[in-house]
Structure formats: structure tokens, C-alpha cells
Amino acid sequence: MEKKLVSVLAVSVAMTAFLAACGNGNDNEGSSASPSASESPSASPSASAPASESASPEKVENFTVSLRHIQIGDAQKFRKAILDDVVKQTEADVPGLKIELDGIEDNVNRFTKLPAEMAAGNPPKIFDVFGGAGDTQKYAKAGRMLDLTPILDELGLKDKFLNGVLDPFSVDGKVYGLPIGGNTEGIFYNTDLFAKYNLNPPTTWDDLIKAADTLKQKGVTPFAVGSKGAWVPNMLVNTFIGRIAGENTNAGFITGASKWNSPDVVAAYQLFADWEKKGYFTKGELGKEYGDMLNDFVAGKAGMMFDGSWRSSAFKNDAVGAAIAGKVAFVSLPAIPNGKGDQTSVNANYGEGYGFSADLNDNELKAVKAFIKNMYSDEMQLRGLLEDGVLPSMQLSDESIAKVTDPIVKQVLDVLKNAGTTFPHFDSVVQSKVYTETETQLQKLIANKATPQQVGDAIQKVQDAENAAAAK
């Protein structure tokens, strides 16, 4: 008995010492332990190790900078590769720097982790962030984010961004975040299935409805969707609102110029509810994740899906959607009969990018500058477009854009070129409480627990309260 106790004690002491040693190693220096082993399991193994070794010659102070990204999983591998290269280059540029990558799922980062870190005041030094009143602007007003205006001036970047794309990331003329690229949301459809059932491409409303009805009849889900996270069906709702109630509606919610319970917005929700009733969406969608939506579409269980143009890279030959590579096309939502908005208008978002902690020392500031310089360059913007189908947020020359060969990306660019005007997604406009309410209410609508009018009323109630609070 006694012996046992002694050995248990010994083991626990040893464990404590071991753990303590680990803790120290991570905190103080990146050079002692294995520099690359701990993070980014999905990264290519060569990503960071050689760079950090060569970048630490004699007597430079080693320091680490944390970087939160959302490029996890196979579908994001092209973007991850770009990020890895930028990280590598930045580490080479700044002596002693080691960037610690921390990959987290998009929604978890945006709605759970980052808000909690912001509340506690310890966000990562570099992090993926969305623009708008619910994200960047809220954090910037609370003094949590670094004012990038002087850095942009120093690097001469300010005028290189497209018109207006910095607005959701700005407060009082100061820039707090930089959009990495843009996207538009539209319909991906399986050309094989459409040919098999003799359907026209869904470019007119009648063709779209006919396609949906026919697919439904043949036992194929018309639209794949995964509504466990309600932001997924919210994409379609957003475009319905823009088209039916007008392209300025989404931007007008926070000023009171448009209302969620106005007849037009309710009509948009009604259209969604009608589609729901007709069985146009995946069965059991409330239990399906966003990834399931792509899987169903790739497996040919669904003929169409309404998704962001960022998904185009999933249909390359070496990507998750390789099974239907070359059999996918992208169109914007066709003109909705009796819609009030410009029926050529499409949604365009430059909502996601990188932000930086306000709490930086000199070294970290250097690292941030180098990161911005490397990430927001013509080269990386073009790579994003060519390799990943991300629309550039910065001006690219026509000959650069002409290099695009991917057919879906070309279609995406065409959709934007043919669009009379664009409107933002309301998630980058409204306050986070309002946005969360849209998700809650939309799930109720899908579950048939609320009518479109009730949905509109409930969201408007939160919107009124938030607008009143903002006016104070």
C-alpha cells in the first residue's frame, strides 16, 4: 500500500514537472522545442520549420505572434496554402518572428471564440474578422482593434483597395480591418443532372421553378442546404430581400430606412417559406451542417445549391468536389417576377478579412506590417483569384484578371460584370443581436413554427431596440 502511494506521488510530481516544462517552452521561445509540430495539422509539413530556423541568426530576440485563421478542412486548402506562404514570407522578413497559426471553424471563431476573447481583452494578435456593425466596427469602437490607417499610408495601400470595400471595416474614417477578397452568392447547378432531365439552365424564373419541380418529382433534392447553422439558408433569404424589396433594403435596416416587417421583406420570407413547403430543400435540413450541403450536391443527391462563390474552388480536379468537376455551373438568381429591386442586382460581399489586436509591442507591430505587406499584394490577390476563386478586394489589372481559366470563376466574374448593381449581405450590416435573431427566426420559419409576418415582426423588434441603443 505504502509503496503504491509513493509511486503515485512520484508519477504525479513527474507529470507536473513535465507539464510545467511544456508550458514554459510554448510561452517564451519558439526555437527550443519543435517549432512546427504543434500547429496546423492540415498544413503542408514544409510550411514553417525551415523558415523559422533560417530567420533566427545570432542575437535576435525571438518572439511569437498568434494568428487566428478559419482556413481549416479540405475545402479551404487553397486559401490555407496562400496563408502558409504569406506566413513563411513574413517570418523571413522579420528576424526572430515565429507566427503561431490557430485554425478554427469560421462560425465558431466569429460567433463564439472571438467575441469571448474580445470581451476578455485578449484576442490573437492577427485574426480573421468580418466587417460591419456586429463585428469589426463593434470591436473597433471598444478600442480592441488596431487603427491601420497609418500603416496603409506608409505602405501606400489605401488607394489600391476597391471602392467602398473598406467601409464595413471603418469607423469615423479610420480603417480597422482589411478585406481579403470578395464573393457573391448565387446558384450552383449540376449540369449533368440538368442534361439528364432535359432542363434548361436556371437563368429565368420559369426555368428555375420548372427545374426545381422536375428534380423534386424525380426524387432529387432541388436545393441542397444545411440549416443547422442558419447563416446558410440566410444567404438565399438575403438575395430574396435584395431582389424583392429592393437593393437598398439590406443597408437600410440600421438607419430605419427599411423595416424587417415591411410587406416587401415579409414577401421575401414568404417566398422562402413557399419553397420550404414545396419541398425544394434538403429533408431534415435543420440537422445538416454546411459541409453536408456540399456533400449532397457533390454526390448528385441535389441538383442545385445556393452558396457563395467561394465554393467554386471545391469543384477543381484535386478538391473535395472532384467527383463533379467540370459538371458545375454558376448563375445568379434569375429575375424574380414582380420584384421591386433591380433584377440584375446581385449580392457582393467584401466582408471577411484580417484585423489586428490593438495591444501590440514594437516587434509585433513590425510583424503585423510585414504580414499586411505580404498578404495584401497584387501577387496574393491574383493567386486568390486563380487558385481559389476569391474575387480580389484590390484593383487588379485587366491582363491579370484575363489569366483566369477556371470556368466557374469566369462565370462568377461574368455574373458580377452583368450585374446592374450590388447589395451587401445584411450580416455585414446589422448589429450582431439583430443578425442572431434573423438566424433564430429563420429556423423557426423552416420548422414551420412561425409565419413570415411573425418572423419580420420579431426581427424588427430587436432591430428597433438596437437602433435606439446605437442612437444613444
Partner: protein, 293 residues
């Protein structure tokens, strides 16, 4: 040395660090939580005192009321379905002659697994396309059931998973009590000609009543506290059908960033648990006499 140990202040000195830690990590956060419950703090901006607004809003909030009802369902299920089942299983296992250890270990196994593992495991069992249950249903030509996506099924599915996870733990508790009953009582009854069912119902169950009470009380506390399995399996969805008080609070506080309101909700949950367990103690447990063999 002898005189030092007689000095009461020395003892105080020894417990002081612990008390300090207790204050730092328990008393202080609790007091600040109560304070936050009366503010509109969003985690970032300044906090304003809003009086009882949060509490009033909570009871006006239909979604929160719905989550209270869900908690009550879980409570009823664990007290009225789970506990009787636990007792039956314990009685069965206690009279098994061979491999009793095997049964004990098997039923106890789920409660050493982490809730996330169980949630994901059962998520696959319930999966509409590849799940175990639906594969069986489809083999019989039945339509698949969307367990976690259907408003009607989601809560039931979670209740079953939760019961599967925790029953083993309680079974082992009750089993220990049954095995502690002196054998001669049982043998005396057997000689008098009592059947197995009679012995179980009229002898064993009354003798293990105190431990059943403990199990019921733990079940009540557990039912009010349940949140992890909900967050892992459905996140409160579909459309709030499985939201319990705690998951609603987590979503409000963390996802909305509405820390003031979230803290108020947590105080309400605390009050609920306190009142219910106290009621149970006063109404049921106190009235019972001690069991003596």
C-alpha cells in the same frame, strides 16, 4: 511546537491560503455575477445598471420559457422513467449469479466517456443517411426519421442519449446499496415463501429507499444542469426545440455577447435548482425514517 499548536491563530494561518483561493475563485466571481445580472453589460462597452429589467425580460422571453419547459421534461423523464429503470436494472444485476462484475462494468462504461464523445457517437447513430437506427428502419422499408432535425424527435433523442450516459452511474450506486443489505433478511423471506418479485418490491426497495432518494435528488440537480449534451448534439436546435435553460444562457451570453442578460439567466437557473432540491428535501426526504437492518 506544543505551544504553537495550541494557538488558534496558527490554524487560521494554515487555512488562510485556502480561504483566499476560495474567495478568489468562488465567492468573488459569484458576487460579481450577481452584480452583472443587474447590468446591460455586453462584454465590451460600459455597463449600466438596469435594475430588474433582465429578470423581467427573461420571464417575458418566450424562448426562455420554452427552455424552462424543456428542462422540466428532462426532469420528469429522469425521475419518472429513468429512476424506475435504474432500480429495475440494479435489482436484475444484483441477483445475477455469474459475470456480475462484467455487467457492472458494462453499464458503468458510458459514464466514463466524455459527453462530447457520446454526443458525436449518438449523432451518428441518429444520422438520417448512414445512421444505425435509420439503416434498420430502411431495411424494413420505412421512411428515415430525422431524429435531431425533427422538432418532434429531437428532445426525445437527447433524453435517450442522456439516459444512456448516466444510468450506469446510478445503477452502480444502487447496486452497492442492494449488495450491502444483509443476506439473512432475503433468505428469511425466501423461507417464508416470498417470490422474487415480492422480495424485490417489499424488501429490497424499501431498504434502499435512502439511496434512491439520493439518486432522485442527483437526477433533479442533473436535469437542471444538463447542457453539454445539448450543445454537442443540436446546439439547442432545431429552432429551439432542444434548448434548455443553460444552453439558452450560453447562447445568449456567448453568441449574442449579452453578458448582463446571460448572467441574469444563470442566477435564475441557480434559484430554480436551489428551490427544487430544497423542496424535495423538505417534502420527501425529511419525512422518511432512517432504515435499520
Amino acid at each position: 511546537m506544543k505551544t504553537t499548536l495550541r494557538n488558534p491563530y496558527v490554524y487560521l494561518l494554515f487555512v488562510l491560503p485556502t480561504i483566499a483561493l476560495y474567495f478568489l475563485f468562488f465567492i468573488y466571481p459569484m458576487l460579481t455575477s450577481v452584480y452583472y445580472g443587474f447590468t446591460n453589460w455586453n462584454g465590451l462597452d460600459t455597463k449600466d445598471f438596469v435594475g430588474f429589467d433582465n429578470f423581467v425580460n427573461a420571464f417575458k422571453d418566450a424562448d426562455f420559457r420554452n427552455s424552462i419547459v424543456n428542462n422540466l421534461y428532462i426532469l420528469l423523464f429522469s425521475c419518472c422513467v429513468q429512476v424506475p429503470l435504474i432500480v429495475v436494472f440494479s435489482l436484475l444485476i444484483s441477483s445475477v449469479k455469474r459475470f456480475q462484475g462484467f455487467y457492472k462494468t458494462t453499464v458503468f462504461m458510458p459514464s466514463i466517456l466524455s459527453t462530447s464523445v457520446i454526443g458525436i457517437l449518438w449523432g451518428y447513430i441518429y444520422d438520417p443517411d448512414v445512421g444505425l437506427i435509420n439503416s434498420i428502419l430502411q431495411a424494413f422499408g420505412l421512411e428515415p426519421i430525422y431524429f435531431l432535425a425533427d422538432m418532434k424527435w429531437a428532445l426525445v433523442s437527447i433524453l435517450i442519449t442522456n439516459a444512456w450516459q448516466w444510468m450506469g452511474f446510478y445503477i452502480v450506486l444502487i447496486l452497492a446499496a442492494i449488495l450491502a443489505i444483509p443476506k439473512d433478511i432475503d433468505e428469511a423471506a425466501m423461507i417464508d415463501g416470498a417470490t422474487g418479485v415480492q422480495r424485490a418490491w417489499y424488501l429490497t426497495v424499501p431498504l434502499i429507499k435512502p439511496i434512491i432518494n439520493v439518486v432522485i435528488m442527483l437526477s433533479i440537480a442533473g436535469a437542471l444542469r444538463v447542457v453539454d449534451i445539448v450543445l454537442v448534439m443540436t446546439g439547442g436546435g432545431p429552432a429551439g426545440a432542444t434548448d434548455v435553460m443553460a444552453s439558452y444562457m450560453v447562447n445568449k451570453a456567448i453568441k449574442y455577447g449579452d453578458y448582463g442578460y446571460g448572467t441574469a439567466l444563470s442566477i435564475i437557473i441557480f434559484a430554480f435548482a436551489l428551490v427544487l432540491t430544497a423542496l424535495y428535501q423538505i417534502l420527501i426526504v425529511r419525512r422518511q425514517e432512517k432504515v435499520e437492518y
